[in-house]
Symmetry: C2
């Protein structure tokens, strides 16, 4: 008998029919002798609908009350799901954040889980019940409702799996696993059977939006085995697990890209201590998230500073930086919205030499100019002209052998 935590996203419970088929699926696994804890998101579109409603009241809704409002979405899902299970002749109980005891900090809209009580859930499981837990929600120390932010149900599921010491945490979604790259632009993309937490973290943050980053961090921290799979298909998906020696044999696990950033360059910045802090302070104050930052070696006391920002913040960023540029005596500010970031990810990079070299050569062979480079232990990212994105992804995918079963 295993204890299984399953999480179903908004699309998987997007209609009454889908809720019923999720219920059937859960019952099947239950009948095989497993204890089942099922975490549900709000039905697709619900959360956006509630946010719209709040925006009609005020453009700037009170964060505490917004969480009270949004948490109803998951409450509806778990109630309907538990009804479905019961109507099929099995016993189920829905539990909300306050009923489980999902304790968080007080950061409305992006709360972090501190601790989860397991008593109530264990009691229900011991009675042979299927337990449906509302995802995305918790309770602060004063008994106020909090929510965990977008994708928070993933975090709920992983945190529950950790607290309950579950055998596995299955994340059901509308894709059937993690791919070596986006199949929409590279038909040769293959589903990965297994991936390490760190690779998953790099893949997620780079745009492969299957799993919430925080959930992966949580899983890594508490060693929770994740299985990302489709709610619409029977076959297995991708296991996200601790890194093994074996994994290092594969140099590159995936190729990702991100077209949602723009590039800002400040030319001939007087190279003095504290200059970077001065440049980025107004951006930070405006809540603009700066991603890659590159500073060239100083020549004759001047340096160039280049960084990327989200495209929607591009114009605002240019304005802010032009003001700073004048103050610090830089020459001028340049900007480019037509860029994309292409990255290769793999734990094997740690032990294999020449990976960067191979990436640069592959791009060069296709005449793709590299505008910026940044590297981490298990990732190399190149910024290129946006029009080359798809081509870059395809040639890198092939160059690192991702089109072949390894």
């Amino acid at each position: 008998m295993a204890l299984i935590v399953q999480k179903y996203g908004g699309t998987s419970v997007g209609s009454i029919d889908r809720i019923k088929s999720v219920a059937k699926r859960v019952i099947d696994t239950y009948k095989q002798g497993n204890q089942m804890v099922v975490v549900l998101s709000a039905m697709a579109g619900q959360t956006d609908g509630l946010i719209e409603l709040a925006k009609k009241v005020t453009q700037d809704p009170d964060p505490r009350e917004l969480d009270v409002l949004l948490s109803t979405g998951e409450q509806v899902s778990v109630a309907l799901f538990a009804m479905a299970i019961k109507s099929m002749g099995y016993d189920a109980r829905s539990l909300l954040g306050f009923q489980v005891g999902i304790h968080t900090d007080k950061l409305y809209g992006k709360a972090r889980i501190h601790q989860i009580d397991t008593k109530r859930i264990k009691e229900e499981l011991e009675k042979g019940r299927i337990v449906a837990v509302a995802g995305f929600q918790g309770l602060d120390e004063d008994g106020n409702i909090t929510t965990l932010g977008r994708g928070g149900s993933d975090t709920t599921a992983v945190a529950l799996a950790a607290a309950l010491n579950a055998d596995i945490c299955e994340i059901y979604t509308d894709v059937d696993g993690i791919y070596t790259t986006d199949p929409n632009i590279c038909p040769e993309a293959r589903k990965l059977d297994v991936i390490s937490y760190d690779e998953m973290l790099e893949m997620a943050s780079l745009g492969a939006k299957v799993l919430e980053i925080r959930a992966v961090e949580f899983a890594k921290k508490f060693n929770v085995k994740l299985h990302v799979r489709s709610s619409f298909k029977e076959e297995g998906g991708t296991m996200v697990v601790p890194e093994t020696k074996d994994m290092e044999k594969v140099v590159v696990s995936g190729v990702t890209y991100n077209k949602n950033e723009a590039r800002v360059t400040i030319k001939r910045v007087p190279d003095k201590p504290g200059i970077a802090a001065k440049i980025f302070k107004p951006l930070f104050d405006a809540g603009i998230v700066v991603d890659m930052i590159i500073q060239n070696t100083s020549e004759d006391g001047y340096t160039d500073m280049t960084f990327t920002v989200p495209k929607p913040d591009f114009k605002k960023s240019i304005q802010l930086v032009e003001k700073v540029a004048k103050e610090i005596g830089a020459e001028k500010v340049l900007g480019d919205e037509n860029i994309a970031k292409v990255s290769i990810v793999g734990v094997g990079m740690r032990t294999h030499a020449g990976v960067a070299q191979k990436m640069f050569e592959t791009l060069a062979q296709e005449g793709i100019n590299i505008l910026m480079i940044s590297t981490s232990e298990i990732k190399i990212s190149c910024v290129v002209e946006e029009k080359y994105t798809e081509l870059a992804v395809r040639v890198l995918h092939r160059a690192f052998g991702l089109d072949k079963n390894q």
Copy 2:
């Protein structure tokens, strides 16, 4: 400084604009130096929509889970309302059943309030906050969500007013008070300035659907002053208060009617002990609520038994009673769906003679035949042919001087 509990029904919070105008109204009263606790229903249509959703899952939804589902309606209302208050520059907090501590029994869908904690609400009030409480919901001793049944928000408001020892409980609705009769069929109907709990109970149970009966019972038990008034008008409505000597001067306070019942008669029932119990057992077992029951004096060992049932249960009732009639050797069963019950209500009846006589004469003068009569201390009801309903209401209204200011 007074402590005021206000309750706004589904129509009063039926749109974002209405929620905003309720918020303005509450702030106005708050600015006059009052402490405000505001109980809200679900937005009009919400609860029905949620029930429909549940019915799509299963025709017979689990009662516990149905309550989890339905309680989201009020949760949405209080969150939006608190947002509205805050966006207008005043401080507010929404509190759900579990946050207040509204403790009920375990009867899902029709739970009764056992006890209310006042600590959290008092803390919020002391901080100068307007407190918005989700109506209709509570928590059983095991921490499960319960709901109080239709009109339950009235009960929440009155119970809160009692627990907090509030100065007044104002029930805001889409009518502007309690009328002497239905203005739709009697244009001379007048709004009552004041009415006693007992009169209100009789009026409510007889079809003047303004206040939930249980809420009035609660108010009577705990001596909570009620004020029933319109959310769309400024002027005062009707005060529902303990009976005073003064009230007895008015013989009749209102005329009500009910067209939703049908009549069943069993002719020549052998008059033996236990016969009534035998007749009504199958109806009781089938969950059919029998209203008026009249048994004529026995003649030669046989009696006639007449009673009324809700119209939707009429056919079923006839079937059940025909079976029993055979068993007990009664002659036959008659039925009539085209009846109506017309009643006069007033605490003054206790001390005034001849009220019934006047009612019967008034109806006779118009050629209206009385089919059944039943009386209580402060109410006389006559069953008449349905087609005479409006006429009967109008002539009684005039005969007892309800068209004149008293």
